[in-house]
Symmetry: C2
Subunit: 320 residues, 2 copies
């Protein structure tokens, strides 16, 4: 496994932005800092059989490895800029590397992020991407800013990725068109970077949904020291209708499914109308799903209007 | 494996520096950029059985995972600042994690670098650290600045780490004191950050020796478009004397051993006397080992004064 030729062949053609003084090929990259901007730093690992099914198309693996990191920058309201790739492979397979790098760079190009360094090693398949973003001084949106009275909103259709997984595992049936849609959500999550930057002017707190809505809203509630009550009817309005799947199963996917990479945020209720009215038609749906309250814990109005407790827990995927 | 409790227990007590606005615990860290400084970005992975023997003390693994990244910043003449840790483990073992984090933070504290984020996943043992450093605008030392006539210098005792490996594998004998010294070089390489920042005022090019002196000098020669001729006698002067090991074996370790993390640099010959005279007694030895010349390739004056070709190739360690 010749690290240098691998990197040169597949990863040195990356576009770099105007702040990259020196990219791949020295001991480190050199980046010109951006005046008036804070740096956002994140790092996420994907492991075969844990974070994606072992038979996943390498194009999708390359795409998703970057997507989950971009999603973290989106959740802060930032712009994604520069990343490193640490790739561990059982053996160098040019076909695999070509597909993987095509998926990676398709997304890198879409959001104008530059690969500036990395490391290729021999080992079981695993990908760690570290990504640096920028945001105007002091304007990053944290998890800790939610206040009682704030509205709780979510982008897109949380839960769909885990329905794709349930379909793969044979535990649900889906119509063919729905199955393709949800598998696309699982393999090709769309990082909500443009939306996150737009939401920066409105959100009091924000997070991306990677562990399921319950766990990730739980992170906001814990960091902000408050509680929330959601509405089942509003949650279902965020979904495509698929009559083959029972409502309880859909609600379960939303709360505990994970892997959605939609944005979950709180907005002062006086700002919500302006946000909803100015929300762009090119963005995915933005749905108000509940309210922040005083106290602690997560509750929901069910279909009968009864208040039920929602357990705040995540779900660990293992795709072996 | 509960990622969050693992991270909180072992990694949230990290010291953070004055530029860290928000450390571990949100979607990303938030860092205040430093005026007048360029950013240096690097990422390195260590895999068990590839980059260290499987029986290595977890304290040494934690230490070395950070050390190899610090060494990349040292090679640019920079100051190391903020890092993320992506840790993949077969199972969460509190004793292992405690030793690992102790090794990691001992070194982090020594060089005042802050852990600002990361990811803990279940998988075979592998550690990826991504590290950001800073350097005054435009002053980073690259591989590409060597010129014919420059002197070639090296810090410390390159080759010792690979002698430790040879000892482990039973292919050489070492006196007990030498064996302990070289095993320490293998397990606890000292990142030359302070030395690198000092050398920034003198070096025309610099690199850290991770793949062996031949391969890493080869990187400088290729990037700078020139050749070099070294002197065997001078190379041996950089070494501790260990009469049990044949000279050819020592020379081989220097050229192809790797894992040394010493600094290899070129200096305009008019600057060398000032550098050597001002070199601090607290620094490791600095040895002039040869000259940069026009052309291409790497040569050496052997013990008889004959010029011999040195193959420019690296060595991939596999410690299975």
């Amino acid at each position: 496994l010749d690290e240098f030729s691998l990197i040169q062949q597949f990863f040195s053609t990356a576009d770099i932005d105007e702040n990259v003084i020196l990219g791949i090929g020295d001991d480190t990259a050199i980046i010109k800092a951006v005046e008036g901007e804070d740096l956002l730093i994140t790092s996420d690992t994907l492991i075969s059989g844990v974070h994606f099914p072992v038979d996943t198309d390498p194009y999708a693996i390359g795409y998703k490895a970057l997507a989950v990191n971009l999603s973290d920058i989106a959740a802060m309201g930032g712009r994604a800029r520069w990343f490193t790739l640490a790739l561990s492979l059982p053996a160098p397979d040019p076909g695999w590397l070509e597909d993987f790098s095509n998926g990676l760079f398709a997304l890198a190009k879409q959001f104008d992020v530059s690969l500036v360094g990395g490391d290729t090693t021999r080992g079981s398949l695993s990908i760690t991407i570290s990504l640096i973003g920028t945001v105007p001084d002091g304007q990053a949106i944290r998890r800790s800013g939610a206040k009682p009275g704030d509205d709780v909103l979510v982008t897109g259709t949380p839960g769909m990725a885990s329905l794709a997984l349930a379909k793969l595992q044979g535990s649900i049936k889906q119509a063919e068109t729905e199955s393709v849609k949800s598998r696309n959500k699982l393999d090709f999550p769309e990082p909500r970077l443009t939306e996150g930057q737009y939401l920066r002017s409105f959100a009091s707190s924000m997070i991306d949904i990677s562990d399921g809505l319950a766990a990730d809203l739980g992170h906001i509630l814990q960091a902000s020291g408050c509680a929330a009550i959601l509405d089942q009817q509003l949650l279902l309005e965020s979904q495509h209708t698929d009559m083959q799947i029972p409502i309880d199963r859909v609600i379960n996917s939303i709360f505990y499914g994970g892997d959605d990479y939609e944005l979950l945020l709180t907005v002062p209720d006086t700002m919500t109308p302006l946000l909803m009215n100015s929300w762009k038609s090119t963005f995915p749906a933005l749905t108000k799903i509940g309210k922040i309250t005083a106290g602690e814990g997560l509750k929901m109005f069910d279909h009968s209007g009864n208040v039920v407790d929602i357990a705040i827990r995540g779900y660990n995927h293992f795709y072996d």
